[in-house]
């Protein structure tokens, strides 16, 4: 049977992985399994920007995917970016198996504020729903409260809700229950 795999890149608190697992389990019928954490790939760090290239992290996660992978979701504390953009909260293969979520900018500490577990939890759930949605073919939603809407700053993440809008939820369920998406 296929499974959804979670993998930490570098060190990630197990509590955060618990939140990720609970979020994925709520939507997906496949079992969720955790893989041993991965080290950062050597070429992923950009010293000029002090950030990690998400493309290289995604490649490393894809390489680690077991054969029966339905989807594999990487989680990291690293601040991710792509060459053209100053940062990304996460990245996913549209309608593909791999996604990655960065905790760096979801933490209040990034913005010079005291850490807040409740806020981090909410943001992790929204970001996991967002990247997981992409892996099932969902594109950005015009509804700003839907976790599938595009967030270009943390304020937009905070204005999202922790559940899909009707249209995106329906599309996701249809995709998950489609013949080629059924648990095997």
């Amino acid at each position: 049977m296929n499974a959804i795999y979670l993998v930490a890149i570098g060190s990630v608190p197990s509590q955060v992985l618990d939140w990720v697992e609970a979020t994925v389990t709520e939507w997906c019928p496949w079992p969720v399994r955790r893989l041993p954490s991965l080290a950062f790939p050597e070429n992923s760090y950009d010293p000029n920007r002090g950030q990690y290239q998400s493309v290289e992290i995604m490649k490393a996660v894809a390489r680690r995917a077991p054969e029966n992978t339905e989807r594999i979701l990487g989680v990291t504390e690293a601040d991710l970016a792509i060459p053209t953009l100053t940062f990304v909260f996460g990245q996913a293969q549209l309608d593909g198996p791999v996604a990655v979520v960065s905790l760096s900018r979801l933490r209040q500490e990034f913005y010079g504020l005291p850490g807040d577990e409740r806020i981090l939890h909410e943001r992790v759930v929204k970001e996991v729903l967002h990247e997981m949605g992409h892996t099932f073919g969902l594109t950005h939603c015009p509804e700003s409260k839907c976790p599938m809407s595009l967030a270009t700053h943390i304020g937009l993440v905070d204005s999202k809700e922790e559940r899909y809008c009707g249209r995106c939820g329906e599309q996701l369920v249809r995709k998950i229950t489609a013949p080629d998406g059924e648990p095997t």
Binding site: R49, Q53, S54, V55, E56, A81, I82, P83, T84, L85, T86, F87, V88, Q91, A92, Q93, L94, H134, T139, H140, L150, T152, H153
Partner: protein, 451 residues
Amino acid sequence: MKKVWPILVVDDEEVMSESMAAWLREDGYRVDTAPNGQTALELAKKTDYAISFIDLKMPGGMDGIETMMEMRKLRPEASIIIITAYATVDTAIQAMKEGAQEYIVKPCHPQEISMLVSRILKLKKLQSENVILRKKISRKYRHHDIITKNPRMEEILSLTQDIASLRSTVLICGESGTGKELVARAIHYSGARADKPFVSVSCAALTETLLESELFGHEKGSFTGAEGQTKGKFELADGGTIFLDEIGDISAKLQADLLRVLQEKRFYRVGGTDEVSVDVRVIAATNKNLAEEVKEGRFRDDLYYRLNVIEIRIPPLRERREDVPLLAEHFVQRIASELGKDISGISGDGLKALIDYDWPGNVRELENVIERAIVTSRNGTLTESDFSWLTQRNAAGQNWDVPDVPLSELERRAIIAVLERKHGNVKEAAASLGIDRSTLYDKLKRYEIVH
């Protein structure tokens, strides 16, 4: 369904183009990537990309600016965004001068790119809607969409083609409902002004003051309620055509103003002191006999000659009965489909009833009659019974050939006719006319009718 815009990302570094493509795909765009200018051009030949992101520095072969210039030769309307890691004022100026829509320095904030993309696509959407609407309008009013097999009408259509590219003033005469505006639009949309505005004004629909403001616009505060400067129809039609319907109904003052515009191509807004210049072709229309109006002193002869450079007389429908079946079938197809009714056509006796009718309201009346029949009919074909009320109307109308005279003259003639029928009996004549005896006596006195 939401349109999926195609976007192209051109960069020699795969990690850059692929990561950017992945980010854009998450937004729902179809994204292609190219590692160099040559490949980008090959792709652009096949796909009209809504946006092309091109990296400025690409070693070997064409750089970003060269790629952009070649791409613009292929697709002059292409929206190109130049991306570079090193911003210098010179390269930015060069990129913009060569036609780049934007110039961004990487890495840039996701919000910046997101807003840039949505701004460009919003514009693209408006542009493509504009093109579609223009095509639709132009298709609607092409001369061969005027339905006729009448030789006189065919001559008129051929004339509209000949005069379409001239800027001479045209006067279209014809009874109400003959399609004067349709002919005016056919002239406009067949000529060089087709992509410029066609502005239609019904001169009879407005009072003198309102019409003046409607035609020439007004300045702020020029009259009560004039809260801001407003452009008139002449300004709105700049570069295109203004269609002045029912021109025979305009006042002496407006006739003088209009003559000035036609002579000098300049005018003042109401309450304004600055002259406004326009390049507008004027097509006027009337259902009156303007030559007669001139003779009677109600219409300026100099304006008449200015307007009447090319005259088109559209025959009434009763003088081209061969067009009735063609037009009727055309209206049935169009209206039945618009109303969602399953009506395939008109029976032989139905067509005969239509051909026999005199159509005082011309093509417009025919269209209304067909619509009424379609709405009330319960059959798949319209038959004579669907037009029975028309036959009655025809019979009633046969004794009522309304002459082209003022209403007071009609009243005078009606009183004389009724008095004759009643052998000079005023009491009976008043009862027949539905007025009392003293009112009839007043009218007899006013119209100097001896009885």
